[in-house]
């Protein structure tokens, strides 16, 4: 099956996109909720965790690995690819970067994310590596995660906070905005409203699922290895009381979270 891991629950937005774009394939999810977030940890620690997460999914029978976490994508994806050369490994940053570079016309791209993602400058670096003469403007929006987890996406408060956070970006004349945090696609309607119609939003979850879909369609040998049923499994290293409720809301289906304890 397809194995997906994240530092927590945010990666369920990637699951949602995979359900949408690749509805027939079985997935196994691992959310490292006991050690979330990865964003404020050292590279050494993040790499150790990402290796453990990947090994767990491979032991469960994963034939493809999707790194749903922005931080682990930035810090550990290259090392995972080296360490597991026979397993296709996908991450969320490259597909979003590629799409944003293709989309922008005025060469001004915005990036929003957690404080840790913005401080890492990973999107800026990758965009500039891919194509120079592009301007990247970043803005951390730390409250967006809590607002999504509170189920306040449609509340007036969320619109006010979005206006406050996006104010400076709106005056930067960007025409493309990357939603650089797994939770943000759930605020897409609010962000889109505040940024206006002339700004294209790039959703890394959507782009990653699309890249995955293309890859599977083009590689019949991989396709044959994947199980096609909906007996999906969801593992977490810690199960908080509101986890099932959040997952139901985001995925539109009830999951049975299983505990995978990581020491």
């Amino acid at each position: 099956m397809i194995g997906i891991f994240d530092s927590g629950i945010g990666g369920l937005t990637i699951v949602r996109e995979i359900f949408k774009q690749l509805p027939t394939y079985q997935i196994t999810y691992f959310g490292d909720t006991a050690r979330t977030p990865y964003g404020n940890k050292s590279n050494e620690t993040i790499i150790t965790y990402a290796l453990q997460d990947t090994e767990f999914l491979l032991a469960k029978g994963a034939k493809i690995i999707v790194v749903a976490c922005n931080t682990a994508s930035a810090v550990a994806a290259k090392i995972l690819k080296k360490k597991f050369p026979n397993t296709p490994i996908f991450e969320v940053i490259t597909p979003a970067v590629t799409k944003s570079v293709k989309t922008t016309k005025n060469k001004r791209i915005g990036v929003i994310g957690t404080r840790a993602t913005v401080a890492s400058k990973i999107y800026e670096q990758q965009i500039t590596n891919l194509k120079d003469k592009l301007t990247v403007i970043s803005k951390p929006c730390p409250l967006f995660v809590s607002l999504v987890e509170e189920n306040w996406a449609d509340q007036p408060i969320t619109k006010m906070i979005a206006r406050k956070y996006l104010y400076s970006l709106r005056h930067e004349q960007i025409d493309t905005l990357i939603l650089g945090c797994t939770h943000y696609p759930l605020l897409k309607h609010v962000i889109s409203q505040k940024m206006g119609k002339n700004v294209a939003l790039v959703d890394p979850a959507e782009q990653t699922a699309l890249q995955l879909k293309t890859y599977i369609e083009e590689n019949s040998s991989v396709q044959k290895q994947l199980t096609t049923n909906n007996e999906h499994q969801f593992f977490f290293s810690d199960i908080a009381p509101h986890l099932t409720e959040l997952a139901k809301r985001w995925l539109g289906t009830t999951i049975k979270p299983q505990l995978h304890h990581i020491a």
Copy 2:
């Protein structure tokens, strides 16, 4: 000196109170920012972390330990006291519980905290253990932490969110409210405004510092062991870019954060 540990930066509100009430004693702070928050971790893990944090402070020369973290106070304080019988160990829950029971007249106490603290029911249990026939009403306010860290304490948005969170508590006729999260004292003015003059706020940081002060004054042998200077030290297991700025805002003084890497 006095050793204080917390799962992150929130415990600096206890430092603030100790500076206020015991300005002459040297303190050493350890914030486990690399593994924050403790609230969603298993008891076993929290105990392991609390033991490591305490051992680090003892090795640095601490003669008194203050557990600033609500979760570690609830889960690990008893075990720390057994493990280190010769070191006075203070935690934040008992002083707040004692104060709230003394304060309430109508026997209705409210508790606000993170989702994890509220789910643990630790305040309810301790209040009921101390005195029965009291009603405790709890309400998680997860966004308060992010609002404080954004320095939005005085923004209209924070007032709106406080109104939303505290609405149900206001209708529960409580006369005493425990601020059951290290960050919340920094929103005291907003919470007080929303709850009205008839609700007494109990600040665990203030009560813990008061208990500590009384203890030191009454124990001259301990008092003699403590260093009286202001060469305070601040260790963190991870140093995020905005840490120094936050600490300056909260403590009113610049700190030099030192890295203490925990594997």
